[in-house]
Symmetry: C2
Subunit: 354 residues, 2 copies
């Protein structure tokens, strides 16, 4: 390996976001078309047409982001696309194209690659996006999928993380925590299988939470609803790291505080039951679980009537002044400091968590 100098700081000392801050701070912006680069769900590019172009990219690695013992290859292909489309949605955009690069070790036959692409194609068909490029190469170890998604958004509709203002309502689509609980269940079944290979896992009763982990969806339907209701959120992010971490991203970028109402955080009944079986707090699963790929957005209080009639949307808090800090108002009436406890894949303790 090349000599990288005497200093040797482990990446875990900075964490993912600290590392990104450190390595991107010295970059210039050369192109007038770059409206916004690193730091939101997607880059925003202005090529002079009526619409702005959005770009987002994600890298999924075997053993870090997925475990092939319980992840069918077709689902993996589907999910790799969806998590990128979700980032385009988080800017209030419509995904249009993707590129996909695959790295594969020699243990994967052509039929396995076809399974992955069957999942990619299913996602392309479901979301009407086009696969327009990629790279396929052998790998010395394991499987990796790198997806870049491109989308479009009208100039006046692009939503940033930074647009929330005190008084705005905090809204959440769908329900939270199920993807994390699905992962816990799959991990437990894997351990059972490893110790007693004859036992067949029975996941039939947990289709909902397992499905939320293995086959998440991007909320393009909500973006279409916003357009129908002529609602433009003041800020938006997709919930990939967990509600707490992603809400703090909005508050930090917007320079505000926030108060979140525990009683109004949407958690599915099956998630609640599974949380109790695992002796986990359902709220903690929603706050820190991640991978739900729901939308977290804020709206002007004047838009309350529009939000009220949105399907599958929950008002769960309010943006406050920065000086008021970021808090969870618990169902029991207490105030807890909101902390990002989403997983950090550079933290050895978190490896394999997702």
């Amino acid at each position: 390996m090349s000599d990288s100098g005497p200093a040797s700081t482990p990446i875990s000392a900075l964490g993912e976001f600290g590392l990104i801050d450190r390595i991107t701070r010295d970059f210039h912006t050369w192109q007038a078309s770059t409206l916004y680069g690193v730091g939101d769900d997607a880059a925003v590019l202005d090529y002079g047409g009526e619409l702005l172009t959005l770009v987002s990219t994600d890298l999924l690695l075997e053993g870090i982001h997925f475990d092939l013992m319980y992840t069918p290859l077709k689902h993996l292909g589907y999910k790799a696309v969806v998590v990128n489309l979700s980032d385009i949605c988080a800017m209030n955009g419509r995904p249009t194209q993707i590129t996909v690069s695959l790295g594969l070790s020699s243990r994967f036959p052509v039929e396995a690659v076809e399974e992955i692409y069957a999942g990619i194609r299913a996602a392309c068909d479901a979301y009407q996006v086009d696969l327009v490029g990629g790279d396929t190469t052998s790998s010395k170890s394991g499987l990796l999928v790198s997806v870049t998604a491109i989308g479009q958004v009208a100039r006046e509709k692009v939503t940033w993380r930074r647009g929330a203002r005190p008084g705005d309502l905090v809204c959440i689509t769908g329900d939270l925590g199920a993807a994390y609980l699905g992962l816990q269940l799959l991990e437990r079944e894997k351990q059972v299988f490893l110790s007693q290979p004859d036992l067949q896992p029975d996941l039939e009763d947990q289709k909902y939470i397992v499905g939320r982990q293995l086959k998440p969806e991007a909320r393009v339907d909500m973006i279409a609803e916003f357009a129908r209701k002529e609602l433009v959120p003041t800020a938006m992010i997709d919930i990939s790291d967990g509600l707490a971490s992603d809400l703090l991203h909005i508050a930090k970028a917007s320079g505000t505080g926030v108060i979140l109402e525990e009683a109004n955080i949407p958690v599915h009944e099956e998630s609640r039951l599974m949380a109790f079986r695992f002796q986990l707090d359902p709220t903690t699963c929603a706050l820190s679980g991640g991978e739900d790929y729901e939308l977290l957005f804020t709206v002007d209080p004047g838009d309350l009537e529009k939000v009220r009639f949105l399907p599958d949307t929950y008002i769960a808090g309010e943006i406050t002044e920065a000086s008021e800090g970021c808090y969870l108002h618990s169902a029991g009436g207490h105030r807890h400091l909101l902390r990002a406890q989403g997983w950090d894949h550079f933290n050895p303790e978190d490896q394999g968590k997702s």
Copy 2:
């Protein structure tokens, strides 16, 4: 691993291009903005503005595409960007933005990541492109870099692989074979070092060919020259797999034959000397070596005068009717069938070649 059915075809049986054909053939095109997807150097997207948008992506994996024993991390970052910019050039476009995803095992400290990004930044500054996104994640094994490049091209200037016509002149920029010979030299020095660690390698005399391997450049300068001369090539590709393979791509896509003049293939004097020292044929290095990232393009014979005054450009053949086949006319006066012998990373014999 998930069950992928009883069939088990090794990927090497299809090769990279066969695999891509097989997995992409069932995809639909949903978006009117997708002018062209998989199959050229970059996808071509039409978002309604004055310019078309180009997208290209490449994945570089440790142990497959680079060896950290002789690849400085800064050079790796630079090269990962350049190979993608080269694809944008091959469409006659101007690169404007990139995204970069990195996977890193825990053996890489923060300082190593900074070295890689120093190279990425050097390329961004040299080519005035903006880093607008990416993903950084830990990896179970080794280093990987996935880059997506975006560019712009005027509608009437986009050059495809498929545009060559019988009678067109075949042109090559720069010189070929040096990157391959640089790799051979680095591989030899690695073996010497592994067997005799006390011997210091002396690469000073071979700066040119080693530089061509470790720090290639994208020919954005030639794209600017074309614009100045008001020359639009009829077809273009960048030489990444080797002259033979890439010229056959143009002939196949255009439905033509081609005759290549060995005497006119540009090979640098230092490459010639090194080829003789390795007992290799310099022409074979140019035809099959790859990684030169020069431009291979065809022009209408009416544009001969424009090409004559292009800097660093060599006329090395002519496009013929498909029925005449694809041949190399050797310096000795013989005709040889042109065969793609670029390396295939799914072929075990080619692994580690680049």
